[in-house]
Symmetry: C2
Subunit: 151 residues, 2 copies
DNA sequence: GGAGTCGGTTCGGAATCCGGACCGACTTGG
DNA sequence: CCAAGTCGGTCCGGATTCCGAACCGACTCC
């Protein structure tokens, strides 16, 4: 199931060890939307209760969500993004943009726009050293050789 | 399992309808790496044969991979990325970068670098209209309201 | 004190996944 | 000519995981 960690410790593999099932990424999407409580996740996702319990527990153990009490006397909990969880936003945005572009029948249902000018945003790579921006080419990878060529 | 498409046709949901199981994203990662043949996927992933057959078939049906003959007389097939599949690279890169940053014990095992100068690349948003680059702030979303705020 | 809320846990049945065996079409070696 | 190997699959029985439904504990509200 996983690569030899000494030879090719693939980070996609490791990310998917946390995120890689049918529900977890949707749970994270909801967390980004502001969903925090057990029943709100449940109502939004129509996920079975035991599965949601398990996924939230795993995400907390992974350090992606934080379980904190928001009500003392009947003990009630909420699940919030940690910095590690919030750092997933580029991945979720990329998934959303891909779905927008390739999977929507009547145009992108949700578009990220530049707050100042209102024009749509693109996702790209930046070299802060050269102050250059790319979408596809001009990229190399060291030392693993992934993604050097996508054709 | 899915949102009401009239009210909130979430593109992450739709993307995950194609990619959202334990194996599919890893299959796509391998495809980006250049893996094309059934047995190569199998050897790399240690996935059960019937499951791999099913996943490849689904990815072909979804339009993400293309199944083409590379040998006529014993009919042999290979699976190649379509443009739609290649467009997933930002999402896979984002996942890889997240794993690099948060999940590796001894520093990023693979880093994307700028081909010209060798410095590491960052992933960001670009407004081609204003020629501005952001990593987090200055972003809004219309009309769904996703990802406007990550705290 | 009965109903409602919230965040679970505990069941049995259903779907899915797994490894291993088998298969068809062909090539290669002896 | 026959045996073994390759490649891309399918078929099978057992194990895991998922699901919906019911239940539960602690509390609040009426």
């Amino acid at each position: 199931m996983h690569d030899d960690p000494a030879v090719r410790p693939c980070s996609i593999q490791r990310s998917l060890d946390i995120l890689g099932d049918r529900w977890t990424i949707l749970i994270m999407r909801d967390a980004f939307r502001g969903v925090r409580r057990f029943d709100d996740f449940r109502n939004d996702l129509e996920i079975a209760r035991p599965v949601l319990t398990d996924r939230l527990k795993r995400l907390v153990e992974a350090g992606v969500l934080e379980r904190r009490i928001y009500c003392e006397r009947p003990p009630r909990f909420e699940y919030r993004l940690t910095p590690m969880g919030a750092a997933l936003s580029p991945a979720l945005v990329a998934l959303m943009r891909w779905g927008d572009e390739w999977l929507s029948v009547d145009g992108p249902p949700t578009v990220l726009v530049h707050d100042a000018c209102g024009h749509p945003l693109d996702q790209a790579f930046v070299c802060w050293h050269c102050n250059e921006t790319f979408t596809q080419s001009g990229i190399a990878s060291r030392p693993g050789g992934h993604f050097a060529d996508t054709t």
